[in-house]
Symmetry: C2
């Protein structure tokens, strides 16, 4: 019995199986290169000793970590959870581990986390949205770290992306709403600075207004952080505008839920007194009452596809190819027909 129980190493296994360390290594990484007979011996030794390869040693020698880093703006609400979970599951299938950080929507924090992840030898990075300091992209390029953007789609961007066209999807929602007779539209948006999703959703609403003969300048969105409380207070502010809007379109479902709460506080009925829309189709959207009219985003599909794409980028050493997923408007009870 060993007095200082220390984890067994490759050497221990090699010794026990009476082969060289190279053979053990091959058994693990490329089994077909070793004969059945010795493979059996080695595997027996591995089992007996309970050997697990040391990750740091392995990644130093191989210059590969089988780790992929992802930086998401927040874990607090469900916005990214489903997609990231799917991303992780798919990655796992391919033998990769996911390292997640959250930046709290702060560009500086994100920058730092990117460096940390790179120092940790992430084989690739998943980032949310395109908007960030170009220096970051330069850095990533110089470090040769493949990078993929998700939750956003932009074919003109340098960095490949898998996501949906936020602008077009939001425009479709806005057109639906306008078709229902709403002409006085207000909007609660997330902070659009450094956030293309937020920015493009605003543009989408304006596109629709323009197309339908409404003046986009009257939209004048309020920008607040994505949480229920801020959504609620923004809603209250909006309700004091003159003329009072007939609908409040929100940058996402969390904000819309906040708006719903604001309406409740004001004693307003939704959708009779005021209509509200969201974006994302979180579980939240169906659970709240009235259920939210919103845009459904294929979270899981996006996560899965991003995982496959990023693994391919790494293993085939090729540039990523962007993928546009369709986001569809789903109509529920939070929008009234006007007149």
């Amino acid at each position: 019995m060993p007095e200082t129980e220390t984890a067994p190493t490759l050497d221990d296994v090699a010794l026990a199986a009476r082969v060289s360390t190279a053979t053990v290594s091959r058994c693990i990484n490329d089994p077909k290169k070793v004969s059945q007979k010795t493979r059996d011996r080695v595997e027996a030794a591995i089992d007996k000793l309970g050997y697990t390869p040391n990750f740091a040693a392995r990644s130093m020698a191989a210059k590969r970590t089988f780790t992929i880093g992802a930086i998401i703006p927040t874990m607090e609400n469900a916005i990214f959870a489903r997609g990231i979970q799917a991303f992780q599951e798919e990655l796992y299938q391919h033998g990769y581990t996911l390292l997640i950080s959250s930046s709290g929507y702060k560009a500086e924090a994100e920058k730092e986390q990117i460096k940390t992840l790179v120092a940790r030898g992430a084989d690739a990075l998943l980032l949310i949205g395109h908007d960030r300091d170009p220096a970051i992209y330069d850095y990533l390029e110089r470090q040769r770290v493949p990078t993929l953007v998700a939750w956003s789609y932009d074919e003109t961007a340098q960095t490949p992306s898998i996501g949906f066209d936020n602008r077009t999807a939001m425009r479709a929602l806005a057109e639906t709403v306008i078709a229902k007779g709403h002409t006085s539209i207000a909007m609660i948006s997330g902070i659009s600075q450094q956030n293309d999703r937020a920015r493009l959703r605003i543009e989408g609403v304006k596109d629709a207004m323009l197309a339908r003969g409404l003046d986009p300048d009257t939209l004048d969105p309020i920008e607040v952080p994505y949480n229920v409380n801020d959504g609620a207070s923004a809603f209250v502010t909006l309700m004091s505008r003159h003329p009072r809007p007939s609908i409040v379109m929100c940058g996402n479902d969390v904000l819309a839920v906040g708006a719903l709460r604001g309406a409740a506080e004001l004693g307003l009925n939704v959708p009779e007194d005021i209509s509200i829309t969201g974006y994302d189709d979180l579980e939240l959207a169906q659970v709240v009452s009235p259920a939210l009219t919103t845009v459904r985003v294929p979270h899981r599909e996006m996560g899965r596809n991003a995982a496959c794409e990023i693994v391919d980028m790494i293993e085939k050493k090729r540039k990523g190819v962007s993928q546009k997923l369709k986001a569809t408007v789903v109509e529920r009870a939070s929008v009234a027909q006007v007149q």
Copy 2:
């Protein structure tokens, strides 16, 4: 200009600063050991080259990774998100990185992920709840990986834990409910197999029933996975029981929201026709209507404290000390006064 732009190493820095690698290393890890003058030189070199230490090399040499692993049952809904986010933030303050996996409530997956995390050299592990194969605890002990349990408190357990007493908290909620005149109680629980939180919450309800002269055997909880749909269908099942319960207590808020939806499907008004309670006090609970009577859990505090404790365990090489946080019942609109 280097043709193959490869990340600068310690050697490069040492060369540029005209010192040995040891000095550079000390500059980074223990600056007070080197004189101001050379420190300045080294730091200048680091800046100039844009050097970041290689994580794998560092952790191999130091046998420390400054990484802490956490395995949570799921990321899909908000149950663990807030607490884990706080955990991560606090860890970050102390210079540690968090590696998260989710097991999907599957014991086998959890076991495998624990091994992965250990192989990756996690300095410590955060696990949710106490219930798991004892072999896992043995393994962790043998590998000398400090382990802390969260979301659960059990002073009798071998492994230290930071959490709340699920049983007592649920009992308090049940007593509140009984005090309001409910005598026919039904329950939708999470799967209690390998899940002490679920198990103890059931026990808590039974404790209250016993204490108030109700027969605990009539509770007969339905166990389903923690998601809205399963909650809804369990609710429907429960409503066909005779006699029909006057209240459905749920194992958590997600299930309670499902129950709410089930009630809506059945055309039942909450709380007039049927009362419902949750557990966790997720944001969800306040946002749904009627707002849920539930148990508030100090998620962020738990995450923060767990981080401090686990860092201490690592750095002071001492056993963890358990911490019991108070969970309080919060009454909202989903429970009616009977009679």
